[in-house]
C-alpha cells in the first residue's frame, strides 16, 4: 500500500499553500499552479502531504491511497 499526490486541475485556483507545506514534492509553475511529483510518498512525507491537502482552500489536492498490485 502506498500514497500518492493527485491534483484536481479544475478545482485548483493556484493559492500555492501546498507548495509551501510540501516543497519536497510540489513546486509551482510561473503562474503559481502546482507541479506534482507523483511518485509514491515516503512514510515520513505522508503526514506532511495530508496537511498540505487539508490546507488547500479549494480541496484540489488529494492524497490518494492505492494498493500495490501483486
Amino acid at each position: 500500500m502506498s500514497e500518492r499526490l493527485r491534483l484536481n486541475p479544475i478545482a485548483c485556483e493556484a493559492h500555492g499553500m501546498c507548495a509551501e507545506l510540501l516543497p519536497e514534492r510540489i513546486s509551482l509553475d510561473e503562474w503559481g499552479y502546482p507541479i506534482l511529483d507523483e511518485r509514491p510518498l515516503s512514510p515520513d512525507l505522508v503526514s506532511h502531504a495530508q496537511r498540505a491537502a487539508q490546507a488547500c482552500p479549494t480541496f484540489a489536492l488529494l492524497v490518494e491511497r492505492e494498493r500495490s498490485r501483486g
Partner: protein, 242 residues
C-alpha cells in the same frame, strides 16, 4: 431599601461578561482583518500563506471561545435577566431587547459561518463561500450590540478599543473591495456604500445614543435595574404611599 440593592451590586459574572465581550470584539476584528489578508493572498518569506490561513482559522475559534464565555456569564449572572434563549433567538429578551437581540443575531450568523467552515468538505466551495460572506454582516451587528448594551461604552479605554476596531475593519473592507476592482462593480459599490452608510450612521448616532444622556433607560433596561436616581424616586413614592 434601595441602598441595600445597590450595595449587593453586580456579580463577578457581570464583570466577566463585559470583559469577554470586549476581548471578543478585538478577536473578531483580528479574524476579519486576517480573512482579508488571506483572501488577498498576501505573504512574505517569514509569513507564508498557510500561516495567515491557520491564524485566521485559529483566531476565529478563539473568538468563539470568548463568545461562549461572554454568553454563559451573561446568562449565569443574576444582575440582568438574560436567558440562554435570549442569547440565541434574537429580540426575545426583557433586558435591552433590541440591542441584546443584535448580539444574538450576530452570534447566529457567526455560528453559520463557523459550522459551514467545519463542514466545508461536505458542501462544496461555492456554498461555503456564499455563507462565509455573512461574516461581513455579523461584524457590524456585533459592534452595534456592543455600543447598545455595553456598560463601558463611555469609558476612554473602551472607546479606544471600539474606534481602533472600527478603523481596522473599515481598512480591511476597503482593501477587500479594491482587490480585483472593477470586477463585479455593482457588488463592490454596494459594499462600499454599505460600509460608508454604517460608519456615517455610527458617527451621527453615537453622541445622542450610547454616549448621550440616560442611554440605559432609553435602550430598554428594566426599570428595576436602573441606577440610584430613578430607583430612589420610586422607592420614595412607595414609602410615601405607605
Amino acid at each position: 431599601m434601595s441602598t441595600t440593592i445597590a450595595a449587593a451590586g453586580p456579580s463577578a459574572y457581570w464583570y466577566l461578561t463585559r470583559s469577554s465581550g470586549a476581548v471578543a470584539l478585538v478577536l473578531l476584528t483580528l479574524t476579519l482583518v486576517l480573512g482579508v489578508v488571506d483572501v488577498r493572498r498576501w505573504s512574505t518569506e517569514t509569513w507564508p500563506r498557510f500561516v495567515v490561513d491557520s491564524l485566521h482559522r485559529n483566531v476565529s475559534l478563539l473568538a468563539l471561545a470568548f463568545l461562549g464565555l461572554h454568553i454563559l456569564t451573561a446568562v449565569l449572572d443574576s444582575f440582568a435577566p438574560i436567558s440562554l434563549i435570549n442569547a440565541v433567538i434574537p429580540f426575545t429578551g426583557s433586558y435591552r431587547p433590541f440591542w441584546l437581540g443584535l448580539g444574538a443575531l450576530s452570534f447566529d450568523l457567526m455560528l453559520a459561518v463557523i459550522i459551514t467552515s467545519l463542514l466545508r468538505r461536505r458542501m462544496g466551495h461555492a456554498t461555503w463561500r456564499a455563507v462565509h460572506w455573512l461574516a461581513y454582516a455579523s461584524w457590524p451587528i456585533a459592534l452595534l450590540h456592543g455600543f447598545g448594551t455595553g456598560s463601558d461604552v463611555k469609558s476612554t479605554w473602551m472607546l479606544a478599543i471600539s474606534i481602533s476596531c472600527l478603523v481596522a475593519a473599515i481598512a480591511a473592507v476597503l482593501v477587500r473591495i479594491a482587490a480585483g476592482w472593477p470586477d463585479q462593480l455593482a457588488r463592490r459599490s454596494a459594499a462600499l456604500g454599505g460600509a460608508g452608510i454604517f460608519t456615517l450612521g455610527l458617527i451621527l448616532w453615537l453622541p445622542s445614543g450610547p454616549l448621550g444622556k440616560e442611554w440605559a433607560r432609553r435602550s430598554g433596561t428594566p426599570s428595576s435595574l436602573l441606577g440610584h436616581s430613578t430607583s430612589h424616586s420610586s422607592a420614595n413614592s412607595t414609602e410615601a404611599s405607605r
